[in-house]
Symmetry: C2
Subunit: 476 residues, 2 copies
Amino acid sequence: MTPEHAVTYARRHRHRFLAELKDFVRFPSVSSQPKYARDLKNCAIWLGNHLRRIGLERVKVIPTRGHPIVYGTWLQAYNRPILLVYGHYDVLPADPLDQWRTPPFTPTVKGDNLYGRGACDDKGQLFTHLKAIESYLRTGRSLPINVKCLFEGEEEIDSPNLMSFIARNRNALRANVAVVSDSPMLGPNQPAISYAGRGALRLELEVRGPGQDLHSGNFGGAIHNPLQSLCEIIGSLHDENGHISIPGFYDDVRDWSENERAFMARTGPRDAQILSAAHAEKGWGEDGFTLYERLTIRPALTVNGIVGGYQGAGVKAVIPSHALAKLSFRLVPDQDPKRVERLFRNHIADIVPPTVTCAVRVLSGAKPAVLDREHPAVRAAVFALRKGFGSSTALVRSGGSFPVLSMFQQLLGIPTVMMGFALPDDPIHSPNEKFHLGNFYRGIETSIWFLAAAAERLKRARQLDKQTVWSSRNGN
Amino acid sequence: MTPEHAVTYARRHRHRFLAELKDFVRFPSVSSQPKYARDLKNCAIWLGNHLRRIGLERVKVIPTRGHPIVYGTWLQAYNRPILLVYGHYDVLPADPLDQWRTPPFTPTVKGDNLYGRGACDDKGQLFTHLKAIESYLRTGRSLPINVKCLFEGEEEIDSPNLMSFIARNRNALRANVAVVSDSPMLGPNQPAISYAGRGALRLELEVRGPGQDLHSGNFGGAIHNPLQSLCEIIGSLHDENGHISIPGFYDDVRDWSENERAFMARTGPRDAQILSAAHAEKGWGEDGFTLYERLTIRPALTVNGIVGGYQGAGVKAVIPSHALAKLSFRLVPDQDPKRVERLFRNHIADIVPPTVTCAVRVLSGAKPAVLDREHPAVRAAVFALRKGFGSSTALVRSGGSFPVLSMFQQLLGIPTVMMGFALPDDPIHSPNEKFHLGNFYRGIETSIWFLAAAAERLKRARQLDKQTVWSSRNGN
């Protein structure tokens, strides 16, 4: 039951592992389209059976209001920590189909890659952990750490049923730390762990004016146009320095130490790299912060979409009766989405002109999260990635939000290590999605090393300090 | 050949006139939908034959790049002026079909109304003039005035071929004045003539940012969002007084005399009437002007639509690579759309931030137009409407734009009398379009009186003054 034996086993069975992954990818488990509901169920049953076959116990395929959750455990390592392995077996639609060079649900190996929808996001990455677990259980009949697996079928549709599932099953999901492999590395031999994600507050702002659409010839100049008013409101939400003009908005934004900012400057992407990735010529935003800082330790407000008035070709002389903007805040420690919602509502109420009315609808909120870079599970992951990839790991902040991470933190009180095996050029949401086979095999070996190292380091940390190391408040 | 004889004839033949109008309405001459092209052609042929049958000469159904133009004349009144009668035989689509209580192209009389798509806009109103012409030619073999008829099949799609047709056929269309019946009265017994329309400048403003859509988590705060930038630009185009903030924009806006403004206050709608028609609670716009003034003698800038980012249900975390606004200016004397275009382009170039780029595309432009209320053809129309409806006529300004009016003014140098017979509640662009039969018959009689009175007054005016009375510069 040493990692070395498991690695040997894993190397010997690569061919079968790949064949199994192909079976997994073959299910068109498209969560957003009702016609695939049966395929999701079949995929969940297949996954449950697979969990049983590799030696996991108490395996359940649990119905939800949407698609099933697959659960399984191995808890025989007495006095050792528990690792929660999260992943998702649902995929995005394959459209546009005509741009695929191979059929999306006929997984195909070409060169060093496996092509297929879900090959990388997240079936292939999820599978690395299952194959690591199998490699231990087939060589030594035990794991170095206790494991709980939680695989959902609704990640690509914002996990509408996961939160309540976790809340109802806190005990069954109790663990010391979680691991998720559903993120990119920085490059082929540049593993990365994201140790921070921004929170989110997504909302819709609707401006309502006249009781019906009006002809802009007959009324233009005498009636306030809700679409114009929406632009005026949105146009006022940033000052010329990219600062968000909502009173109190920055009150809880943490000032980071010179040390932390120096670490970020040393390890994070340069402005030029961010601009190149964005296909942009110029940066934008708050003076006094690098682009990397602006998109990780500084909050942002994005207009994701506007729906208002005529959108077809040519001309329609209309003053629309209402207009809607989809907005999203990205929040940073120690901002709270509930408080930001209140500030936003108050500010809109303050600035809305008397000639229109405004409505604010909140769609979702998530707290910002940051993981102590010295957390033993992070150190274990860095160690395992060096074993698996032969490279050192970049510890980076992400500007995005990880709802699962917030849920685990809020409801289970545990941190999550985000150890992804995707390559930056894997088109995970586009046609010709692929998973690099080298990364599949290295991912399995990394997971083998991680299971052992996490057990070891968490145990040692527990001996040093009885408290949970995780917190979103005492981060770096 | 007195108007009285013609009126007697018209009253005697009402039943047949209605039957003929029903034949006319039966053609599904929907100009915007290619599948109806054959129906438009058949409708044009029917209309041409009808012109011949009532005694018009040199009748032609003239092909264009789109739908045919129908032309016919009667020019035997020596030493008398020429009247150009304009109308359109095309109609809007009938959708949504399920809201019609009778089939849209099965014209049906119920109560005092004829129901059917195009019954009012514009087949019924156009037909009043044909029946007036017939009533003269059948009773006295001559008309009191020379007539040229110009009926197009593309009015509902912005007349893409009319301008070039007029330009190529200036001689054939030479006239002293034009009449159009394609507008509403103020109420059942309140005829109205619109003596002014605003010009228009329709354009698209596109803001471009990064070379591709970006994830707003990964880039929000560090890259300027084109949709936000578009809002910032549009939000800056009006000041808090509803004034348009483009340098030089008001330079050519005419100051109207106290007399003219007093006339408008006496004859035009009150603020409360405009708000009620708009289903709005509060007015908006420039201080110091009534709502009626704001939408007729003051220019306006309307955002007709914005296309940018995600517009579906729920959430998509995107920074769109570009965003587009559809804008329309309404212009007043003595603004010139070409100059306003230049001012707008310069202003946008001045204010566009360095983090995005802007493109301006002009879709169409039309000059403002105003008709001397004392023009003999207007006085003839006021006289004829009193004969036809027994009521005095409101002389109103319209906030809308009349491209045909601008074309006639620019290319033929003649004014146009807009003498409409629609009722304000005729749902001309909606299901259950109707034409009030009383207005159909009164419209015919009005046209009979108008043909005589226009001849008389134009002739008298020519004796007093050799010059064309029309001008957009020396109006009221």
